[in-house]
């Protein structure tokens, strides 16, 4: 079964069969655990389910009536969905990239946080996949994208690459989280041979999903605003902020609702990562800003529209300045010594940076790529109610998944049953 020579951790064939036999029981237990909880838990899950259903309903209308119910046009042909997709890919990548210090520095305390990061990655990948599915004009033809039965344009199309790496990433993280949970459930010590290689794979893969997603945009010569080599590094830097910031928030919520805590060390490591990554992100933004405006010309047209408005159109100006303000204030807060303590400074900084990056990488990056259009027409875009509903539904569903995963994680890691309210 195992090629390892460490005899004590090898499962004998009999035990392996046992592992397989116990698996349905594990799933059954998970199902039961995911639906057990106190009043607050049920209210929370009910609210998330309700929002998800609103989103599902809006999407069903969109499929039946056509994408005319969105505010996208032939000029701005991608909008809120792809914006949200881009952010969620970053969140997924960032969730795992903070695994690096845990293994690089062999930081044992970090492991309690790492599994939370993997859970965030799973939920975020599901959200980004859903964001692409709802953006398809013909979701009924989704199978055309499946290697083997469809017809994939590989290796030329960056979108094909993206589909492959995102699904691969989802499988890797499902395996890691699923394996660790299952072993804990069985009360066994996880065999490192069965998950550590996958952890390293997922770290490399995390960088790849965000790089490929950046290539999706920066490979297009006809869109000068995206066509910059800085895009992929900027994506990575901002993912190193949004991922850890989101995990800090999740850990805080877990501590309040379930008492699941890690030592203060890991959070401080995360904040150090954020400090460096956010600084790099802002430096790259400034560098981009300089090139766009000092040179001017066609390359600057979208940036002019985005930051200052152009020819009487100012649709994105409030968005981007909100993002920049949030990012800068968030960065300053992170640099304050009190950010290292458990307190409101840290939480405010996390929220500001997450919102700032969501705008910067979404509405502030995808939409201005289309304004002005390739024939230099200015057609503005702001999302329709249907688009907001669908996006809210995707987030609610993602958070619902995350809640279930965290509930299982907290239950097996703390050994307490039934009292957890994630």
């Amino acid at each position: 079964m195992s090629m390892s020579s460490t005899t004590d951790s090898i499962q004998s064939p009999v035990e392996s069969a046992d592992l397989i036999r116990s698996y349905p029981g594990f799933l059954w237990w998970g199902l039961g655990e995911a639906t057990n909880g106190g009043l607050r838990f049920y209210v929370w899950m009910f609210a998330l389910t309700a929002i998800s259903l609103v989103g599902a309903n809006a999407w069903a209308h969109q499929v039946a009536e056509g994408m005319i119910v969105t505010n996208m046009t032939d000029h701005v042909s991608w909008g809120l969905y792809i914006a949200n997709f881009t952010f969620c890919v970053g969140l997924a990548a960032g969730g795992v990239m903070m695994v690096i210090p845990a293994y690089l520095y062999d930081d044992e305390e970090m492991h309690k946080v790492v599994i939370v990061g993997e859970a965030v990655a799973i939920a975020a990948i599901v959200m980004s996949t859903l964001s692409v599915v709802v953006d398809l004009g013909r979701p009924d033809r989704f199978w055309h994208l499946v290697p083997g039965i469809g017809r994939v344009n590989w290796p030329v199309s960056m979108l094909t690459w993206d589909v492959i790496v995102l699904n691969g990433y989802l499988l890797i993280n499902l395996h890691i989280v699923g394996y660790l949970l299952y072993m804990r459930y069985l009360g066994r010590k996880p065999n490192p041979n069965w998950y550590v290689p996958f952890v390293f794979l997922s770290i490399a893969w995390a960088i790849s999903i965000h790089t490929v997603t950046a290539f999706l945009y920066c490979g297009l010569g006809g869109r000068p605003f995206w066509n910059t080599a800085l895009l992929a590094p900027r994506f990575l830097a901002s993912a190193f902020v949004s991922g850890p910031a989101f995990i800090i928030l999740v850990m805080r919520i877990l501590r309040i609702t379930t008492g699941y805590t890690a030592a203060p060390g890991p959070a401080r490591t995360l904040i150090q990562i954020i400090r460096v990554a956010m600084t790099i992100n802002l430096v790259m933004l400034a560098s981009e800003f300089f090139t766009l405006f000092y040179t001017g010309g066609a390359h600057g047209a979208s940036a002019q529209y985005l930051f200052f408005g152009s020819h009487g159109h100012y649709g994105l100006v409030p968005w981007i300045w909100t993002a920049i303000t949030f990012n800068i204030v968030g960065a300053i807060l992170f640099f304050m010594p009190s950010a290292l303590d458990r307190g409101s400074v840290r939480i405010t900084a996390c929220v500001l940076c997450i919102v700032g990056i969501w705008i910067e990488k979404g509405m502030g990056l995808i939409v201005p790529g289309f304004i002005p259009s390739t024939l230099h027409e200015i057609v503005e875009y702001s999302p329709s109610l249907v688009e907001w509903k669908v996006t809210a539904g995707i987030w609610a569903f993602g958070i619902l998944m995350l809640t279930v995963l965290l509930k299982l994680i907290v239950t097996v890691f703390t050994g307490e049953q039934g009292t957890a309210e994630a």
């Binding site: 389910t49 009536e65 398809l136 004009g137 033809r141 009360g187 039934g418």
Partner: protein
């Protein structure tokens, strides 16, 4: 949701557990019943939420759902597909149409050129395109956009497509833009499912029944040449052009991409594109780039021609020139 015969005992980490379900200190039957009710209600709510989808089976037949990529269809398959599409057009639009599949003429490579000294911005080409290609009537869709440009600049930033005054204006010139049928088409590279490709005569086509509607090609095109069907096109029965090509002007399904195809259902049979035929100024020149005696080759040899956005390396087969 849960089995009644499971014990209510708690699962302890550290104990090798069989398929026991911990029902967590609750009277198992009561909690189980509540969960079952909750699950049923949730499923019912989900069914209600996605109920607009039930209209899909009416619009998308099993045959359409399972249809293979154009290049994988045998002649017999194609015949069946075309017959089905003709029947659907009859049913949905009340029009009798014939769907054909003209193939590229061996050795021919099409090129197009526009004389910007002659074009006066009258827009007859856009109108002809709309009619010929069975475009959605509600939004006056067309594969051509005519830019009104200021004399003294070729910068499209100083152009506009939304002019509605008499033409030509003295200080303006007019530049129609449509698919440039690039030799190195960024849209084809972008498509994740090979729903769009370049034919042997240089025309970039779309299999409207294979496109998934992701619109990556629309983002990739530097010439705003691609269009998305944001809704099902509406065309009165008497206005439907019955002479239709599978890869060209047949009525497109909702949620898919479309683009200019040099009227291949006409040009592959020796006729001119509809936009050229409609142009009252004689500004448009179309022909075979491989034929040394063609009009298009005469233009390329004798005029100072240019292509749009040459620096992007797309190598358009669409040229512009001025007289003298």
């Amino acid at each position: 949701m849960t089995d009644d015969d499971k014990s209510g005992s708690e699962h302890q980490p550290g104990e090798l557990s069989g398929p026991h379900l911990p029902i967590l200190n609750q009277p198992s039957t009561r909690r189980t019943a509540l969960k079952a009710v909750g699950a049923a209600l949730g499923l019912a709510a989900f069914g209600r939420a996605v109920s607009p989808l039930w209209s899909i089976p009416e619009n998308v037949s099993v045959d359409e759902f399972l249809q293979q990529h154009y290049k994988e269809l045998s002649e017999a398959d194609k015949k069946k597909v075309f017959e089905r599409l003709e029947a659907e057009t009859k049913e949905n639009y009340g029009a009798n149409v014939t769907i054909s599949d003209p193939q590229p003429i061996p050795g021919v490579r099409f090129g197009y050129a526009i004389n910007l000294s002659k074009c006066n911005g009258n827009g007859a080409c856009m109108e002809a395109c709309n009619k010929e290609n069975n475009h959605h009537r509600g939004v006056d869709q067309s594969y051509i956009r005519v830019l009104e440009m200021s004399k003294g600049s070729l910068d499209m930033e100083h152009g506009t497509t939304t002019f509605d005054h008499t033409v030509p204006q003295d200080d303006k010139f007019y530049m129609p833009v449509q698919c440039q049928q690039c030799e190195n088409p960024p849209c084809v590279s972008a498509c994740p499912v090979e729903a769009t490709w370049q034919e042997d005569d240089g025309i970039v086509v779309v299999d409207y029944n294979w496109c998934i509607g992701c619109r990556y090609c629309e983002a990739a095109c530097p010439y705003h040449a691609r269009r998305f069907n944001w809704e099902q096109p509406e065309i009165p029965a008497e206005e439907v052009n019955p002479d239709q090509g599978y890869l060209s002007n047949r009525i497109r399904p909702q949620g898919t991409m479309e683009k200019c195809h040099f009227c291949l259902h006409r040009t592959r049979e020796g006729r001119a594109p509809a936009c050229l035929e409609a142009c009252p100024t004689g500004a448009r020149v179309f022909g075979d780039l491989n034929d040394p005696d063609s009009d298009i080759n005469w233009i390329l040899k004798n005029k100072r021609v240019f292509v749009l956005k040459e620096e992007l390396g797309t190598k358009p087969n669409f040229f512009y020139f001025f007289d003298s």
